[in-house]
């Protein structure tokens, strides 16, 4: 064995491994997207489906559904690796733990956040958004889903090893996610009205950058504690 513990190489391998695992069960990474689409579909069902009203509703429905789908998915970010001892091995691998967890979070975003963002314009169309709004909606969800994944990583770390952590996880992450939700919905609304959405997009990007610097450290601290 050749000793060459490069942090980049390690992260790349974690990414590849997680992607391979996800694709081995093809249905799996499609599930958050499907959940998202079904939930957005529930709204017109539960309400009187009138197009003009639907359109007003669209930003809220879209973002609530995206938030819920991503929280539902984030629960599995560390769970399995925690249970089977993989995280233990990561902690003992001689690399920065936060860095390895960031790689895991990136893989998770590629598998849930990205498909979600790609599916969102479709759902928006179904809720009566005009075609011109779709690029804006896509952009908002791309940026927003990054910070949702990162915030989610903190919550997933904290609730790792807690029985029925899922519900507690949502309790912890939802308050953190409210700014993302508010700005995201605002951006979507502006996009549907045909106005410029640069303002909320900048804010979403800022939240993402903030999360990128803070979340891995917090998640690493949290996971370490629950490994005891």
């Amino acid at each position: 064995m050749i000793r060459e513990p490069s942090a980049l190489h390690a992260a790349a391998q974690i990414l590849r491994r997680d992607l391979k695992l996800a694709f081995r069960r093809p249905g799996e990474w499609l599930q958050p997207v499907a959940f998202f689409l079904i939930v957005t579909m529930l709204f017109p069902l539960a309400l009187d489906p009138e197009l003009s009203r639907l359109r007003q509703l669209a930003p809220g429905a879209l973002w609530v559904a995206a938030l819920l789908a991503s929280i539902l998915a984030i629960e599995f970010l560390f769970r399995e690796d925690g249970r089977d001892g993989t995280l233990e091995q990561y902690a003992l691998s001689g690399h920065s733990f936060a860095w390895l967890l960031l790689a895991k979070t990136a893989a998770h975003w590629l598998l849930t956040g990205l498909p979600l963002a790609i599916a969102a314009p479709l759902a928006a169309l179904g809720l009566g958004a005009p075609a011109a709004a779709l690029p804006g909606i896509l952009a908002a969800l791309l940026l927003g889903s990054v910070s949702l994944s990162l915030l989610g990583a903190i919550g997933a770390g904290l609730t790792l090893g807690i029985r029925r952590g899922g519900a507690l996880l949502s309790l912890l992450v939802l308050p953190l996610a409210i700014p993302t939700l508010v700005f995201g919905a605002r951006a979507t609304q502006l996009a549907i009205q045909g106005d410029s959405l640069a303002g909320p997009l900048y804010l979403l990007a800022a939240l993402g950058v903030f999360g990128l610097t803070l979340a891995p450290l917090a998640a690493a601290a949290a996971v370490r504690i629950s490994l005891e």
């Binding site: 064995m1 050749i2 391979k20 001892g85 993989t86 001689g94």
Partner: protein, 207 residues
């Protein structure tokens, strides 16, 4: 090489390890034969840095391990009750990805290690479809490829048949011969040569 001195560890309300000290030189293996619940798992995890230590020190090559955990970890292989194997990957893939964290390994080495532990036939099976003992053997193969100087093994012979236990013994002997150190929790003393191994029968009476 490994010096544990005055270690105190608590599990919740329980004062499990009360001022434990032990030293191991290169090429030595220590078998912990303590009874159930005496704190073997706790000791191994405390040495690895996975459990917080209330008082005392763990030194490796003369360095306090808490001072520079990353460097210490590069020398360390921990095999716990949980095997850190992915049920949805084959044995070979599992080894490939987990070894990648510590450097590069040639695929041929992986195949050779799997052959040594007698898994060539099921090499292409998902690990989830392997029996309990077969999974242990995968973990054993990984251990031999890890190239770590300090092995911490928690009941490595569990679930293994007689042939499998002989494999564990051989692996530890080879590790010690190469100047490695091993701490092993076990209930059935492993048949290691006496020059290499010392037995520790209860936390009260040092080895």
């Amino acid at each position: 090489m490994l010096e544990v001195s005055g270690l105190h560890v608590w599990r919740g309300e329980r004062h499990v390890l009360k001022g434990l000290s032990v030293q191991l030189a290169a090429g030595q293996a220590l078998q912990l034969l303590w009874p159930n619940g005496a704190g073997k798992t706790s000791l191994l995890r405390a040495i690895a840095g996975l459990l917080p230590v209330e008082a005392g020190q763990v030194r490796w090559r003369g360095q306090d391990t808490e001072a520079d955990p990353l460097t210490f970890c590069r020398d360390l292989a921990y095999l716990g009750h949980d095997l850190a194997l992915k049920g949805d990957l084959t044995a070979g893939e599992n080894l490939r990805y987990s070894l990648a964290l510590r450097g590069r390994v040639a695929p041929a080495d992986i195949d050779a290690a799997l052959a040594t532990v007698g898994l060539t036939a099921v090499q292409e099976q998902l690990v989830r479809r392997l029996s309990a003992g077969q999974q242990r053997r995968v973990a054993l193969a990984r251990l031999t490829l890890w190239d770590a100087r300090l092995w911490l093994l928690d009941e490595p012979a569990a679930n293994l048949d007689a042939a499998g236990q002989a494999l564990v013994v051989a692996a530890i002997e080879a590790h010690a011969a190469a100047g490695g150190v091993a701490v092993i929790a076990t209930h059935q003393p492993l048949a290691l040569s006496t020059g290499v191994s010392s037995l520790w029968r209860s936390p009260g009476e040092p080895p």
